[in-house]
């Protein structure tokens, strides 16, 4: 194993995944190093969200290797993986309709010390404080997204899997989410971000992996060169 792989927080090798009988991930490999923000880019159906689900243990079947802090998690259950410090923010945001905003926020159990306190979370997301007693799903789309990110910051997990946090949101909200993600990176969180919004991704990420048909087709280690970004855009819009 190379040095690079061993120093990675997440080291995914040869990952295959299935929904029922259909084989959707084909030998996906990538690394995420401590404190980095890495994006998985690609079109709808490229396998980005599926990769995150596979990492969380939410697929019917998966094979290959996923090292999290050097520990193999390919055979672990979702709840065991979460307990190791991997936190997940799903694409549909996963806000519970039968829980208030505050209950949503307090739902994920603390897995270790060092998570954000409720007050710190409310400072980061002031809207949520005003709506604490509302039903979770009565929030606007942007607020629901904030809530979905906010609730995994309490747990002490320091590695975040964020699935398209900007999807379907107004530009001004996308900007706010971008600011939050940059702040989280500044706080030392390691982040794996699934995105389709290339402009947004280029601004925040350290490196990119482009997925197509369940395979990694491009790795761009240094972000934000204008022509590279255009190159990725071709994958997304072709």
């Amino acid at each position: 194993m190379t040095n690079e792989a061993t120093s990675a927080v997440l080291c995914v090798r040869d990952l295959h995944g299935w929904y029922g009988d259909s084989h959707v991930l084909h030998a996906v490999s990538f690394d995420v190093r401590p404190g980095q923000l890495v994006t998985l880019l690609g079109r709808n159906g490229a396998g980005k969200s599926t990769t995150l689900k596979a990492m969380m243990g939410l697929l019917d079947k998966r094979r290959g290797s996923i090292l999290f802090r050097g520990k193999e998690t390919i055979a672990a259950q979702a709840n065991q993986i979460a307990r190791q410090g991997l936190a997940y923010c799903p694409e549909d945001r996963g806000i519970f309709a039968t829980l208030s905003v505050e209950e949503n926020l307090r739902l994920p159990p603390k897995i270790r010390d060092g998570g954000m306190g409720i007050e710190a979370i409310y400072r980061l997301f002031p809207n949520l404080k005003d709506r604490a007693k509302s039903v979770g799903t009565k929030l606007s789309g942007g607020e629901q997204q904030m809530l979905a990110i906010a609730r995994i910051l309490r747990t002490g997990a320091d590695t975040l899997l964020l699935d398209e946090p900007t999807e379907g949101l107004a530009p001004v909200i996308v900007k706010q989410i971008g600011a939050v993600i940059r702040e989280l990176k500044g706080l030392g969180y390691t982040i794996l971000l699934v995105e389709q919004n290339i402009k947004f991704a280029a601004k925040v990420a350290d490196q990119h992996y482009v997925l197509e048909n369940g395979r990694v087709v491009e790795h761009i280690p240094h972000a934000a060169h204008a022509d590279e970004v255009r190159g990725i855009a071709n994958y997304l819009h072709a």
Binding site: A78, L99, I152
Partner: protein, 299 residues
């Protein structure tokens, strides 16, 4: 209209209140049983057809404990639900768990089969006639309230049932544990991905739901006869209660349990022949107006 007025004026207030009280007592059992069913359906997505048999097991166990070991009502009230609940934990862990991935019809058939097995084996041993269970000495007698006679034991059942229903509702709707249960009912996979062992929660929920049925069974023992078929007599009405309240709704199960008991009681006063059918008429009417039930969350 005249007919109704005649009936009303001929009716003694005592008899009227007596019937309503009987209805409310039935309602207390409907509420406890439908609450357990709703809890189980929410978490397991299984229609627990063995619920009636588990209610019977509670009563039967209390009777057997008294006959063989001389264990009294109060001890049985704790012991029987504990034993039946433990049986539920094992049943979920080793049997029910195998059908979650299949069509819900399999869960229904499986639990229905287990109910037949349980009822059949007790009938084989004890016959289908009921056994009396004496009211504990502390709860004998009653009060004359002026407009009606209130037996102490029935008052106790009402109070116990309301307390139990409220406690379960409170835990489910107002506590942190309850928020886990509600969340796991809604999106079990995501709750797993937060590090919560949903399988264990499902196991304990089933055990709790089953224990609730057994508590109802012990409470019922001195009122109804303890018989192997007591559960299958009540369970069909309880299913209708759950549908009226709204599948998966705790408050719906409680309110519609008492409501159905009340309506049955009223029907017994005015048109006794319809008293065992009225619940299904009520169910049809509610479904026509609110297809998800009175407290149903989904349309």
């Amino acid at each position: 209209m005249h007919n109704l007025m005649d009936t009303l004026s001929n009716l003694s207030i005592d008899a009227f209140m007596g019937q309503l009280m009987l209805g409310l007592i039935n309602g207390a059992f409907y509420a406890m049983l439908s609450l357990g069913l709703a809890l189980i359906f929410g978490m397991l997505n299984i229609v627990n057809f063995v619920h009636g048999a588990q209610y019977m097991l509670g009563a039967m166990l209390a009777w057997i404990l008294l006959q063989t070991l001389g264990i009294n009502y109060w001890v049985s009230l704790l012991l029987a639900p504990f034993i039946v609940g433990a049986f539920g934990l094992l049943l979920e862990r080793f049997v029910l768990r195998r059908v979650y991935a299949l069509d819900p019809a399999y869960g229904l058939l499986l639990t229905f089969g287990i109910a037949l097995l349980l009822e059949g084996s007790f009938r084989q041993k004890l016959g289908s006639s009921g056994q009396p269970y004496a009211i504990p000495a502390e709860l004998r007698g009653g009060w004359d309230l002026g407009f009606m006679y209130m037996p102490t034991y029935r008052a106790w059942v009402l109070i116990a049932s309301i307390t139990i229903c409220f406690a379960v509702w409170y835990v489910f709707e107002r506590t942190r544990l309850g928020s886990y249960l509600r969340a796991a009912t809604e999106k079990p996979q995501l709750v797993r991905a937060f590090g919560i062992d949903v399988s264990k929660m499902i196991n304990l929920t089933y055990g709790l739901g089953v224990a609730l049925a057994a508590v109802a069974g012990v409470l019922a023992a001195p009122i109804y006869q303890v018989s192997p078929l007591m559960g299958s007599n009540i369970i069909i009405v309880v299913f209708a209660v759950v549908v009226i309240g709204g599948l998966g709704s705790m408050s719906g199960a409680i309110v519609s349990g008492f409501l159905v008991g009340f309506v049955e009681g009223l029907t017994k006063v005015f048109y006794p022949a319809a008293s065992s059918t009225v619940v299904f008429v009520l169910m049809a009417c509610v479904l026509l107006v609110k297809p998800a039930g009175l407290f149903g969350r989904r349309a």
